[in-house]
Symmetry: C2
Subunit: 215 residues, 2 copies
């Protein structure tokens, strides 16, 4: 009698597991059908303007990660770093410079280190000229303008010119702008916008910025 009961329980467990599995498969089928439908609708192939903004950690690494992805397919990239200065060794560029990547660093360091608008403005102008060259060169598949949002915010680079240059870039060229407080006109213009929000940060718990993770 006990044995029969156990068998019943075991059978009922098996049945429950099988029903759960069946439900999972049905759900996945629905997801797949939906994804397939959306993929079928997305047929346009062109350069995308991507903005990665917000106050959370992961904006620049996401930009550099996308450049890594592009050069991994044999594409050519351009990178302009608007904030990182000469005193910061940059792990990413140590690798990327071994590949087909044009590169310019603004070189005055963080603006709160230099504290001179004239020096910063002149350096930003040079960096923006380099950016414009890249944004006019159709041999470059993807351009990363790392931390450029601050230059627009401070008025070091003219917003209207940025919009015009991005709009007139080669049709198939992707461009990525990273940084906090992105101007709403750039967000309007962008095809894809991600906002990285900080839920918490190790720095606030007393953990220092570390090589390999933070720069």
């Amino acid at each position: 009698m006990n044995d029969i009961k156990k068998d019943d329980a075991s059978q009922s467990q098996d049945q429950a597991a099988s029903e759960k599995e069946q439900k999972h498969i049905e759900r996945q089928k629905k997801i797949k059908a939906n994804v397939d439908k959306r993929v079928a609708q997305a047929t346009e192939e062109r350069g995308v303007f991507l903005v990665i903004t917000g106050n959370g950690k992961g904006k620049s690494t996401s930009g550099f990660g996308t450049v890594l992805r592009a050069i991994g397919h044999g594409q050519k990239a351009g990178v302009v770093q608007f904030i990182k200065g000469t005193q910061w060794e940059c792990g990413e560029m140590n690798i990327l410079k071994q590949f087909d990547v044009q590169h310019h660093v603004m070189g005055t360091g963080f603006t709160w280190e230099t504290q001179s608008t004239e020096t910063d403005k002149a350096a930003a102008k040079v960096a923006w000229e380099k950016s414009k060259d890249m944004l006019a060169d159709d041999s470059i598949n993807i351009v990363l303008l790392d931390e450029m949002t601050y230059m627009v915010k401070y008025g070091y680079i003219d917003l209207e010119e940025v919009i015009e240059v991005i709009q007139n870039r080669p049709t198939m060229q992707h461009v990525i702008i990273t940084g906090r407080a992105c101007h709403r006109r750039l967000i309007e213009l962008a095809d894809t916008v991600s906002e990285v929000q900080p839920i918490k940060h190790a720095f606030d718990a007393g953990v220092m910025a570390q090589k390999g993770l933070d720069w």
Copy 2:
């Protein structure tokens, strides 16, 4: 008279510009003082557990960008990809495999492509075993568990074991988990959590996923 007026106007403009510049410098000094204070307080150096979650674009690229940063400083990395399957050529890994990076791909493809929990579970188990090896190896500076959140969500990997293994990893090792819908227990355990929110996505406007940008 007109000339004098013009000079006055010009002088007043110069003065306004100088005051604006002075204000900017004062503001930057305050920012710098605040940053310096926070940097002085953040003195602990240890491995950081970083979660990059949310529904926006840029989570995996941020993870891979951080790995790029680490190997750029001569550090050793481990990467396990939990969702990307054999049918997707991965731009990032084409480059990273040329450096000191241990790598495992789960290899069944997207779970809504396979639609078999048993196959997925077995593949997830193998990928998790590889992850555990990396999370026990103190020669590895940084471990990226790309899109692992889904494995926990589907119950393919045991949450309690994940927590235990992450807590017991080498003291100086960084670990990054990416993917949507990260379990709240992992968010609680993490040192740094960023949530990538989608403001808009080119895909929704009919632009297809493109090599170099989207994979």
